[in-house]
Amino acid sequence: MLRRRTRMNPTAVRRPIQPPPVVASPFPFHPGSLLSIEDLSLQGLSHILSRASALESMDPLERARILAKRRIALLFYESSTRTRTSFELAAKGLGADTTLVSSLSSSIEKGESLKDTGLTLRALGAEAIILRHASSGAPWLLEAETRLPILNAGDGMHEHPTQALLDLRTMLQDLRPGVETITPETFAGITVTVVGDILHSRVARSNMLLLPKLGARVIFCGPRELLPEMAAQAGPGVSVERDFEAALKQSQVVMMLRIQAERLAGLQVDLDEYKVRYQLNGERQARLAPEALVLHPGPIIRGLELTADVADGPRSAILQQIRNGVAIRMAVVERALLTAANEGGRA
């Protein structure tokens, strides 16, 4: 809204000017899709958490009947160890047939577009596509063109919703053991500090959108090159703190991130100075936050963002995160294929 300028014409009547409205997003088209962590309501999140636990403890033979012989494609335009393997194990654990298409061994190399690759997989019988892509927003394009359930396994610098879900499960296990039904107060009084290359991190963005909904405070911490000031305006409950030690002192959870050299695009970061200011080492941890849970989405670079004693220490949940990834992804894959297309749009 703006008021008409009167300086040029002091006799003009000041009156409000109403601009055209912004139309609501039509995404997701398929209710089984998980494009953004924002696709999930608190109820939807709770459901995924409880299904993750149920599926994890189920008899493997019984579990393998849930999606027996259903077809799921993994479409990976970027390299991945944890995400790809755990999605694959999750889908196979439910009995589904999976096929992996990666950019280096497919027609993608020959110039096939994402749309055409998606339509090809659909024609081959894929009932859902798990997509990892270097371009922010690629899963939205793939969903619009194929109308299949699309699971976002990380898009560029944008989102990584299943990582936020497995982080949530890991935090709940430590801070709220036994809790699977979440509310706006579940993490009241909890401060989560995310440290490092926020600018290029899809993990940071998905967590930033999720954690404040449960009442947590999110502090972003890092140097200006890797954390623009405007990050503080990205959503409610999010703030920026440049002083790592000041942030650490307030934190119950600290999430360390890797500097994404592949996305720096010419940016220069002095790694020695970075370590001095932002590395989580044993001394800092013991002095400022001995109880804080330490998370890292991986891959970790020992000796850079954190030291070996922290990574292997008693408060490190890094391997627990990876274990939770399989359970969470089973729940998300199940949701993708067992949520009928007629169940309506947004959660």
């Binding site: 055209p20 371009s135 922010s136 927003g137 939205w140 959503g235």
Partner: protein, 434 residues
């Protein structure tokens, strides 16, 4: 067909100060007579267009379009682009030089103007300032002007070197041509695909800052100030930021010949319209913040903006159906400019109809020195648009005349339906009978 009588309409000609019922007789491509209704003395044997209940105005002029020929006829041709122009009420379009090859020669300028291109309204080529738009070696502006160029611009590859921009301003002024600058410091926008700000951060996209635009506008104004004696005319293309508008406003107060245009998408839409990576909301300059958009509206209402120009930039469907960061910049605009301007500037924000039409005809004609266009007086070109100013309609991109469909305005309500567009006395567009 040599004579055409437009009878019973209401003539609005802002530059002549006419706002009254008039009949207009066009003969041999020119306006032969303007008379009170039913009083024409020269209309014997003329074909009659019944304009009762309709508004008659000087044909619209879009000083910023991309017609894609030579070289990219799959996006648009001069024939299809001018057909879209005619459907939108335009009788003249100024075509940017970012063709393949670049229009930096008299041969290409003449090729674009050849009757074989099948243009249905007038095309006015804008020639490149430097060879291949590489920002190094100046072209021969006198020769380009003689071949038909109406302005000089390196378009999407703005002139960054101060020395080259200075030479361009001086050389263009010497032959009486305007210099149009797409203000973007491309060194600051590498890899960027939308406006810099919280939205870009949230979407994980690299952003183009306001400074990338305003710093070039400020630099250019400084050069024009230094070259005051050269009487250069700097025209800033598609202004999108409050800071750039403020710079233009100040330059004008200082008596400089600095003008600017705003595109409909920049006075209507914001970065919020990018939504979830809608490539039809990707253009350069990008959709900006609400404060910037409001500054565009304000600058149009208070008269700092000299023209509404569309930056019509057609792209084939497959080029826009890709990842947002990889999709080309640009949207079409010729068929929606009048409808959006009337719907929003006039109806919603109460800009008088005459001023809307002036921004779309008389003012751009004056900026580009188009003699005999942008006004309807006896002897001027018979460039006329006849439209129903009250009619509301829904724009359907698929039904358009452009070869391309890349628009964020598909399905939007428009106001003001074009009935006829007449280019130099010939009907270039007639609305289908409904």
């Amino acid at each position: 067909m040599t004579a055409l009588l437009i009878r019973g309409g209401h003539l609005i000609d802002p530059s002549a100060g006419v706002d009254a019922p008039k009949d207009i007789l066009l003969k041999d491509g020119r306006v032969a007579e303007i008379s009170s209704p039913g009083k024409s003395k020269l209309a014997n044997g003329a074909e009659v267009l019944d304009a009762s209940g309709l508004t008659v105005a000087p044909g619209l002029i879009d000083m910023h379009v991309h017609l894609r020929e030579p070289g990219q006829g799959y996006k648009e041709t001069i024939a299809s682009g001018t057909a879209a122009a005619a459907a939108g009420g335009f009788t003249a379009v100024a075509a940017m030089p970012n063709t393949a090859p670049v229009n930096d020669s008299t041969e290409i300028t003449r090729w674009m103007l050849s009757p074989e291109r099948g243009a249905v309204v007038r095309v006015f080529p804008i020639a490149a300032a430097t060879r291949g738009m590489k920002g190094e070696t100046l072209n021969d502006f006198a020769a380009l002007k003689a071949a038909g160029a109406v302005a000089i611009s390196d378009d999407g590859k703005p002139i960054l070197k101060d020395s080259v921009m200075r030479e361009t301003l001086v050389a263009a002024a010497r032959v009486g041509l305007s210099v149009i600058q797409h203000a973007e410091d491309t060194r600051m926008t590498v890899g960027a695909s939308m406006n810099a700000g919280p939205m870009a951060f949230k979407l994980g996209l690299r952003g183009m800052s306001n400074e990338a635009e305003s710093s070039i506008v400020e630099r250019d104004i400084r050069l024009v100030t230094e070259l005051r004696d050269a009487r250069s005319h700097l025209h800033v293309a598609h202004v999108s930021t409050a800071a750039a508008i403020a710079a233009v406003r100040q330059a004008r107060r200082n008596g400089l010949r600095v003008t600017c245009e705003v595109a409909p998408h920049h006075f209507l839409l914001t970065e919020e319209h990018v939504g979830m990576y809608n490539t039809h909301a990707k253009m350069c300059p990008p959709l900006r913040s609400a404060a910037d958009r409001d500054a565009m509206i304000e600058a149009i209402l208070d008269g700092v903006v000299d023209a509404i120009a569309t930056d019509h930039a057609p792209h084939a469907v497959h080029e826009k159906e890709i990842e947002f960061e990889r999709a080309p910049n640009g949207i079409t605009g010729l068929e929606t400019a009048l409808g959006l301007s009337l719907r929003w500037l006039h109806k919603e924000w109460k800009l008088p109809l005459g001023r809307v039409l002036s921004l779309l005809s008389a003012q751009p004609a004056a900026l580009l020195g188009m003699k005999g266009r942008g006004a309807l007086t006896v002897g001027s070109f018979g460039d006329v648009v006849v439209f129903d100013p009250k009619a509301e309609w829904t724009y359907r991109a698929a039904e358009g005349k452009s070869k391309s469909r890349n628009t964020p305005f598909d399905g939007w309500t428009m106001q003001g339906k074009v009935q006829w567009t007449i280019s130099e006395g010939r009907i270039a567009y007639a609305a289908p009978r409904s």
